[in-house]
């Protein structure tokens, strides 16, 4: 039997995406309006439900199995990162923002450091630009592997028993973390990027380790497709589920794989190149269906593309210095210029931006992180009404939210 692979797009479901009345068009939080007879069940999904990928609470009004209205309550993981960044110096901020999107810390560091560099007009050396690109692509594969495992776990027993796909993807993600450990000394929160470049050069034997790791993962992506994409139950649970309308997604600021799965061909890496992306050729996968299956296809294609980029880059990193400035030893030793900057990078979840106002001291006056997941979660009040409770779980999983960056 031929095995289906996610390279080819599945057929888009017929008909336009059903439009949903704007949530606030209804009188807010007044169950009487929806439910004069008292027949609806009010249910809290989360904050401790495992399929909410963290601590996210959605209040659902259910008519039997079908959701009538959904009101999300983010903020359970709010840690005041932006207030902390006000009090910390520029040198101390990258290790804090590592913890925002804790699945792709490298790209978080990249976003804030690029904003500081733009603010101070610091030119990053070419070798460091390539190292940053390499790290970002390595991290993207790891992030998508975590999404793939948890997404399959959301559908539980349908995919051959609970956590089996999860175990497979985490085995591979572990080897990626090992690569980062060899490179930066830390598996998760690296604190390796700094204003003007990087702190750590790649060690001896790193290229060989990365090549071995990513070639293994490339072979395994075929197995993931066989395990998940080829599964009839997976197809029936994702096809046509959670369809995102491209116009609505753009109004909400939804970006990354979700927007690309709805037919918008936009990727900051290609359209507003940063780091070394301007010198690379990047294929941007796009699907038009907008459902959960399309988002799976886009992420899998992105993963394969990132693996290709990593394997291309690892042999072609130019020689030279890795940092434009002298390494800073004291936290207050780096003083920024006054001004304002906004810099966005394309992380695994979309446009990850940093808006910074500086007043010429060693601290930023105001720093705002623009997290892609926060915008994606704003889709929930539009996607949930009309779908069953089990479909809401699938939709939530396919949006790939990281609550650490939703709530910050």
């Amino acid at each position: 039997m031929a095995v289906a692979h996610s390279e080819e797009a599945h057929e888009a479901p017929a008909g336009p995406v059903p439009t949903v009345v704007r949530p606030w068009a209804d009188p807010y939080l007044d169950p009487e309006t929806y439910d004069p007879e008292g027949d609806l069940m009010v249910m809290n999904l989360g904050p401790q439900h495992p399929s909410t990928h963290g601590v996210f609470r959605v209040k659902l009004w259910l008519d039997g199995e079908v959701c009538v209205k959904a009101v999300p309550y983010p903020g359970y993981l709010h840690r005041g990162v932006e207030k902390l960044c006000e009090k910390l110096t520029y040198v101390q901020i990258p290790p804090i923002v590592d913890k925002n999107d804790y699945v792709s810390p490298y790209i978080n560091e990249l976003a804030v450091n690029m904003a500081f560099e733009q603010l101070n007009a610091v030119e990053v050396p070419r070798r460091s630009q390539y190292l940053r690109t390499l790290g970002a692509e390595m991290q993207r594969v790891g992030s998508h592997l975590l999404w793939l495992g948890t997404f399959a776990m959301d559908m539980g027993g349908a995919l051959g028993g609970g956590a089996s796909a999860f175990m497979h993807t985490f085995r591979e993600r572990e080897t990626i973390l090992d690569c980062f450990e060899l490179w930066t000394g830390a598996r998760f929160h690296y604190n390796t990027l700094t204003v003007g470049g990087s702190r750590h050069d790649v060690p001896a034997g790193f290229a060989e380790m990365v090549r071995r790791t990513y070639e293994t993962i490339r072979a395994r992506t075929i197995e993931y497709d066989e395990l998940i994409y080829d599964n009839a139950i997976f197809r029936s649970r994702t096809e046509g589920v959670g369809r995102v309308d491209a116009k609505l997604a753009m109004e909400l600021g939804v970006s990354g794989p979700i927007l690309r799965a709805s037919g918008i061909d936009w990727d900051l890496r290609r359209d507003r190149p940063y780091a070394a992306y301007g010198e690379l050729k990047i294929n941007v996968p796009v699907r038009s269906a907008g459902d959960s299956l399309a988002r799976y296809e886009v992420r899998m294609a992105e993963m394969r593309e990132s693996i290709r980029l990593v394997l291309d880059l690892i042999d072609g990193i130019p020689e030279g210095p890795i940092c434009a400035l002298k390494p800073v030893k004291l936290p207050g030793a780096f003083k920024g210029k006054a001004g304002q900057a906004y810099v966005a990078v394309d992380g695994p979840r979309g446009e990850l931006g940093t808006w910074v106002i500086a007043d010429g001291t060693e601290r930023a006056y105001r720093l705002k992180i623009r997290p892609p997941s926060y915008h994606a979660m704003a889709l929930i009040p539009y996607l949930a009404p009309g779908s069953t409770l089990s479909d809401i779980i699938v939709t939530l999983g396919s949006l790939d939210p990281i609550l650490g960056e939703v709530d910050r």
Binding site: G75, H78, E82, L252, W266, Q340, Y342, G353, R370
Partner: protein, 148 residues
């Protein structure tokens, strides 16, 4: 980043503004500006962010609110409004659905009030939280109700 011709002519002719990053507009025209920009294709709502400036000799206590829109794939435009504390700025919820959560977050953390926002509640902090943490006069080490 050069400004596209249609954007520059819209700003010059419709709003008497020179292209800049960010533009500064008057509160009374911000909804009209957002709607016109959406009309020429700036349909992607990137973010809304606010910052607080305490009173100085020259200026009253105020916040600045910045919006950024994009016309995919390459063009972007940012505009900001100044809001004196105690007054409000019109909400963009009627133009961009994404302004809903974004403005709620800025209201919650910075304390800017958005007029005509359909649902202006706190989003990050508990409903009974006192004060707005990202204001400059909100000390990071002060204890606040109810977590004393």
């Amino acid at each position: 980043m050069s400004t596209p011709d249609d954007l520059a002519s819209l700003l010059r002719e419709g709003f008497d503004l020179e292209p800049a990053d960010p533009l500064t507009v008057d509160r009374s025209r911000v909804v009209e500006l957002a709607r016109s920009l959406k009309g020429i294709g700036f349909e992607y709502f990137s973010y809304c962010a606010a910052a607080h400036y305490p009173a100085t000799d020259a200026d009253p206590d105020r916040t600045v609110v910045e919006y950024r829109l994009r016309r995919l794939p390459r063009d972007e435009v940012a505009f900001r409004v100044w809001v004196p504390t105690g007054e409000s700025t019109p909400s963009l919820c009627g133009v961009f659905a994404g302004a809903d959560w974004q403005e709620r977050e800025q209201y919650d953390l910075v304390g800017t009030v958005f007029a005509d926002h359909p649902d202006l509640r706190r989003i990050m902090l508990p409903e009974d939280w006192e004060g707005h943490p990202l204001r400059r006069d909100y000390a990071i080490d002060t204890r606040h109700h109810p977590w004393r």
